[in-house]
């Protein structure tokens, strides 16, 4: 068995909730937009052409429809027998902000003072929701668990921009209280890590070459 485990994070294609600028939790997520499906189809065609995900040993999606649809389309190129859903790779749980537009959110919760989460990342972003640091902890633990569970293999996870951010912040040892640099993870892009002898290696971030042509 190889001593290297590959972890490939795929951000979902553009979703209806992205277009509507609303929180896409279990209520707000209604799957991919037509453009989002086209983006993932281009990823699928690229992967079929390059073979870069050949040898996949596990295929996961979050429990949100936009991630599941992304995994299904991508799997037309990978051909893995099953897609397992895992709630731990969902986007930040929005709590009562679910299905609100960003404008409604600002006027409802930010005005009330829960907007303090921007200054203190341990405060939930909305009632019943998750804090930024709680989210980072949850994602870091989940990605490590999936990687160890499939040691020596290739784990593909259809997930979210926040999950990709979390991998960068945690695996590159950045301070969660302070984010000097920012990330722009595109829909249907690939971010890849490998893990060998307890060490993460960033192989690529936001590879969306298939959207350029």
């Amino acid at each position: 068995m190889s001593d290297v485990t590959r972890l490939v994070l795929v951000r979902h294609g553009e979703a209806d909730c992205n277009v509507g600028k609303r929180f896409g939790g279990p209520l707000g997520c209604t799957g991919l937009s037509p453009e989002g499906r086209r983006q993932v189809e281009r990823l699928r065609d690229r992967v079929a052409r390059t073979g870069e995900l050949a040898g996949t040993t596990a295929l996961y999606a979050s429990t949100l429809p936009r991630a599941i649809e992304t995994a299904e389309i991508l799997n037309e190129a990978i051909g893995y027998p099953t897609i397992e859903t895992d709630e731990r790779v969902c986007e930040l749980h929005p709590g009562e902000a679910d299905n609100m537009t960003f404008v409604e959110y600002e006027s409802t919760f930010f005005a009330e003072g829960s907007g303090r989460w921007r200054d203190d990342p341990s405060i939930p972003t909305a009632p019943g929701g998750e804090s930024w640091t709680g989210f980072l902890d949850r994602v870091e633990a989940a990605l490590l668990d999936l990687t160890l569970r499939h040691a020596g293999g290739l784990v593909v996870v259809a997930c979210h921009g926040g999950v990709v951010d979390a991998s960068m912040l945690r695996f590159l040892a950045m301070d969660p209280q302070y984010r000097p640099a920012r990330f722009v993870t595109e829909n249907s892009s690939i971010t890849e890590w490998t893990r060998r002898r307890d060490r993460w290696r960033l192989v690529r971030y936001n590879d969306a070459g298939h959207l350029q042509d």
Binding site: T50, R118, A173, P180, R182, F183, V184, R201, L202
Partner: protein
């Protein structure tokens, strides 16, 4: 919008020969390195993703200069030693790696305040040297697209500088020959200009090349 596109050189002949590629040891690209650079040029011609490039810089090492000439033949590059890979002294330059594999520490991020071998630049000094140069270049070319053809170490030092990563690094970075890493200066929610990582190690043009 300020765009900084960092390109790693193609495979070097010094790498194939297993020698340290300082000013003497570096003898330019290998055959594969030239094909990698040609694949990148074909990609750039197809996508137009660097059509807005306003300035081109390279290190002074032949593998970087040669890569720049191949990928952007219409542009005149400026060579800067501040963009070179970790500096080595004359004793170290050109020596086969296997001659001293027992007495050097790699990667240099393991012990950032010590030279990774006698006569080498420590990682912490290197990060300062590269960070200062990139700060100077991006200030001089603010609002434009700047292409820098350089080295894996320089691309790692840029990430360390812009994302303010620790100098002693528990992680590793994989940076392929002729890959593209792109940063942009963009305003955040409060309007403060921040470095934003657009992509790291984009080597999609190398698929199928060996």
């Amino acid at each position: 919008l300020t765009r900084l596109v960092l390109v790693r050189h193609g495979e070097a002949q010094s790498y194939v020969d297993g020698v340290i590629g300082g000013p003497t040891g570096c003898t330019g690209l290998s055959d594969l390195g030239r094909r990698q650079a040609d694949a990148l040029r074909a990609r750039l011609e197809r996508t137009g993703e660097l059509d807005d490039a306003a300035a081109l810089y390279t290190s002074t090492l032949p593998r970087a200069v040669e890569t720049a000439e191949r990928i952007l033949p219409a542009m005149e590059g400026t060579a800067r030693c501040e963009l070179c890979e970790l500096h080595v002294d004359e004793q170290l330059d050109g020596r086969p790696f296997k001659e001293f594999e027992d007495d050097y520490e790699w990667p240099p991020t393991v012990n950032p305040y010590q030279p990774w071998a006698a006569g080498a630049e420590p990682w912490a000094e290197f990060v300062l040297r590269v960070g200062r140069e990139l700060d100077r270049l991006t200030t001089e070319h603010a609002g434009r697209t700047l292409v820098v053809v350089c080295h894996g170490g320089v691309i790692a030092a840029a990430l360390t500088t812009f994302a303010e990563l620790p100098l002693r690094q528990p992680f590793r970075l994989h940076i392929e020959n002729t890959s593209l890493t792109e940063w942009q200066l963009r305003p955040d929610l409060k309007g403060v200009q921040r470095w934003t990582l657009m992509r790291f190690n984009d080597a999609a043009h190398l698929a199928g090349l060996a």
